[in-house]
């Protein structure tokens, strides 16, 4: 009993120590953000208040937050999975786009009953994203080429490829580069449509959030309870050690990276089917990169990344409102989130936290994958 109590207090202390680090980082970032706003001649308190009110202050704001968070959950989970297997998948951006265009294509070009069509479209997104992750993965595993350069290159190739597709072969109207609309059988219903206008008016929040949460739960179970999840974590911690432990490196590593790309692609398809219902050229750049940031913010674990993605989505929703009302560019949020990550990653900066007696033992404020071969 006493033993159990001690482990519980220990756990609480660790969690407390870690959140102190995160809180201090957020505080520091908010301070720097305030300085920027003061220089711009804005009242920071007012701006932050508007931001929070815009994100959480009304049903509409909450739903917009949810809608903005949905794609970020996918990209954050995709980045987290890759980070955990020891890969810096900064190609989530391109994988998201390829998944979106695959989803859009299967969504409009195929005619099937909804029960088959919708899963097929989602699968197309998943496999599109996985396919886009394939080449960098193989180059990393077979040739030892850093995935950072190759995934960035494939991002650029993806955007140009999609611009070509939406401008020529898949183009629907002569005026704008976009694909034909997705069939109703492949659309993910928005809450407004489901409730016939009584719930969620003026928002595009859609049932895709449930798919996102399903992915979160599945990934959580995989990491906690299954062999493949264990193997992914081991590979991420140490290549030689996992090989010694009898893990099939190629299969585990390549599998992990492909699933990561697939989740990003699935996110792209969900965003198309739920919000846009057709592919507009370059409809919304940056979901992948923000997903990378959310994964870093969430300490590269499934639950943390999900919370970070929800937080990020909320802040984006607030910032969109802010752009309308106060004329503050919404990139301010990306700046503040970037600052939070700088401060969170800077373990040494918060070293004094560790010197306080009751947080000793929670060594790392922020988990890093220090011993990776890159």
């Amino acid at each position: 009993m006493r033993e159990k109590l001690r482990t519980i207090t220990q756990l609480l202390r660790n969690a407390f120590g870690r959140s102190i680090g995160i809180l201090l980082s957020i505080l520091a970032a908010v301070m720097v953000g305030s300085i920027i706003m003061l220089i711009e001649g804005q009242n920071p308190l007012e701006i932050y208040w508007l931001l929070i009110k815009g994100a959480l202050g009304s049903q509409r704001g909450l739903l917009i937050s949810l809608q903005r968070a949905t794609p970020l959950i996918f990209t954050a989970i995709a980045s987290t999975l890759a980070f955990r297997t020891g890969v810096f998948n900064v190609g989530v951006e391109g994988q998201f786009f390829i998944g979106a265009i695959c989803g859009a294509f299967v969504g409009y070009a195929v005619k099937l009953p909804m029960l088959i069509h919708l899963p097929l479209t989602l699968a197309a997104g998943f496999f599109g994203g996985a396919l886009w992750a394939f080449f960098p993965t193989i180059m990393r595993q077979k040739l030892g080429v850093s995935e950072i350069i190759t995934t960035i290159m494939t991002n650029y190739i993806a955007t140009f490829l999609i611009s070509y597709l939406t401008n020529y072969p898949l183009r629907h109207t002569p005026t704008t580069p976009e694909t034909p609309p997705v069939q109703p059988t492949a659309q993910l219903a928005q809450f407004v449509e489901l409730s016939e206008g009584t719930f969620g008016k003026g928002t595009q929040a859609h049932v895709g959030i449930f798919i996102a949460l399903l992915v979160v739960i599945v990934m959580y179970i995989i990491f906690k309870r299954t062999r493949i999840g264990y193997e992914w974590r081991m590979v991420g911690l140490s290549f030689p050690f996992s090989e010694f432990g009898g893990i099939n490196l190629d299969r585990t590593f390549i599998g992990g990276m492909l699933v990561s790309g697939g989740i990003a692609g699935l996110g792209g398809a969900v965003e198309i089917l739920g919000v846009w219902r057709e592919y507009k050229d370059l409809f919304a750049a940056g979901f992948g990169f923000r997903g990378n940031l959310a994964a870093l913010l969430g300490g590269q674990n499934v639950i943390g990344s999900t919370i970070a993605a929800l937080f990020y989505g909320g802040m984006e929703a607030g910032a969109l409102g802010l752009e309308w009302s106060a004329g503050v560019p919404r990139q301010l949020i990306d700046i503040v989130v970037g600052l939070i990550i700088f401060f969170m990653a800077a373990e040494g900066m918060w070293a004094f936290v560790r010197r306080i007696k009751w947080v000793r033992g929670s060594r790392a404020v922020h988990r890093t994958t220090e011993d990776l071969e890159v």
């Binding site: 900064v90 990139q331 994958t369």
Partner: protein
């Protein structure tokens, strides 16, 4: 068999003065990005923040030039931004022990949103900012040389940064192999523990390398924003920071190698521009060329390196 068509094509797309000039111009930001990657990789640091540093350099170049009506002030502002960003990157990743790749990813994304934010707030425009008040860097005509046929147009009349890039390649070589600091830097990169025991301050050397890389990257940025058209465009670095890393890899971490492989990129981009003018294929495929070329070159380079390693192992096995 008649092979004259090959010569025709070569002459049309590669070996004529206009194309070679284009190659030297378009290679310049890649050379500088390559030096940025080189100086840090030789100090044993994986610096992926070059992309972000280029963006900041491009933005501050335009801002300095616009507010002081002088391209040189733009250059100065950009270099200062390179020093500051490099210094912060070094401070966080070396002193505060932030994970260097995480830091790099964060800086790149941060630079992207920060420059968009700044463009909107400071200049009040979105997307791109150009203004007649932004002074561009004037072309430099080299006396005597400029009157020599072929060589004159080929080597004279570029903006200052093109020549600066060439000089920096030479200076980096001299620095690495002919000065004690260069020796220290290489020692730190090859074996930091050993360097430490020899009394070299590893931390300080790496700090310096990262700051220098910031300056190189910011010069690449200024070239993009003030070299030809005087404007800042969102995301104008367009992956050059990463192409610089790739160029450093093929160049074997040698200044001259970096220069030569950058020329290769220059020629790929020039051919792209030529093809674009002739409307042979959709422009999107042409825009892909530098990125495809990077992937192809990385693949070929590592495959060959692997083969060489295998051959060396076999030879060793046979001798033993």
């Amino acid at each position: 068999m008649d092979f004259s068509w090959i010569l025709d094509i070569l002459q049309r797309y590669v070996f004529n003065i206009a194309n070679l000039q284009g190659m030297l111009r378009l290679a310049t930001p890649v050379v500088l990005a390559g030096l940025c990657a080189l100086i840090t990789s030789r100090a044993g640091i994986l610096n992926i923040a070059g992309e972000g540093m280029i963006l900041f350099g491009a933005w501050f170049g335009v801002a300095g030039s616009y507010f002081f009506r002088s391209a040189w002030m733009g250059l100065l502002a950009a270099m200062l931004s390179g020093l500051v960003v490099g210094g912060l990157f070094a401070l966080f990743s070396l002193k505060f022990r932030a994970h260097i790749i995480i830091m790099g990813i964060a800086i790149n994304i941060f630079a992207n949103s920060a420059t968009i934010f700044l463009t909107r707030e400071v200049f009040g425009v979105a997307g791109a900012f150009s203004d007649p008040n932004i002074a561009g860097l004037p072309p430099i005509e080299i006396p005597i040389l400029k009157d020599i046929p072929v060589l004159g147009p080929l080597l004279s009349g570029y903006t200052f940064i093109v020549y600066l890039a060439w000089i920096l390649v030479a200076l980096t070589y001299v620095f690495l192999y002919r000065t004690p600091w260069g020796l220290h830097l290489r020692a730190v990169g090859e074996n930091p523990q050993a360097a430490e025991t020899l009394g070299i301050n590893v931390q300080r050397v790496r700090f310096g390398a990262v700051m220098a890389s910031g300056v190189f990257a910011s010069l690449a940025g200024v070239y993009l924003s003030l070299g030809h058209l005087q404007m800042f465009t969102e995301q104008m670095a367009a992956g050059r920071g990463f192409i610089g890393m790739a160029v450093n890899t093929f160049g074997g971490g040698e200044p001259v190698g970096v220069f030569l492989s950058s020329l290769l990129f220059g020629i790929v981009e020039t051919i792209g521009w030529r093809l674009q003018g002739e409307r042979i294929m959709p422009v999107y495929f042409i825009s892909m060329l530098p990125y495809l070329a990077t992937l192809a070159a990385l693949t070929i380079f590592t495959l060959r390196k692997q083969q060489a390693k295998k051959a060396a192992l076999e030879r060793a096995a046979r001798e033993a």
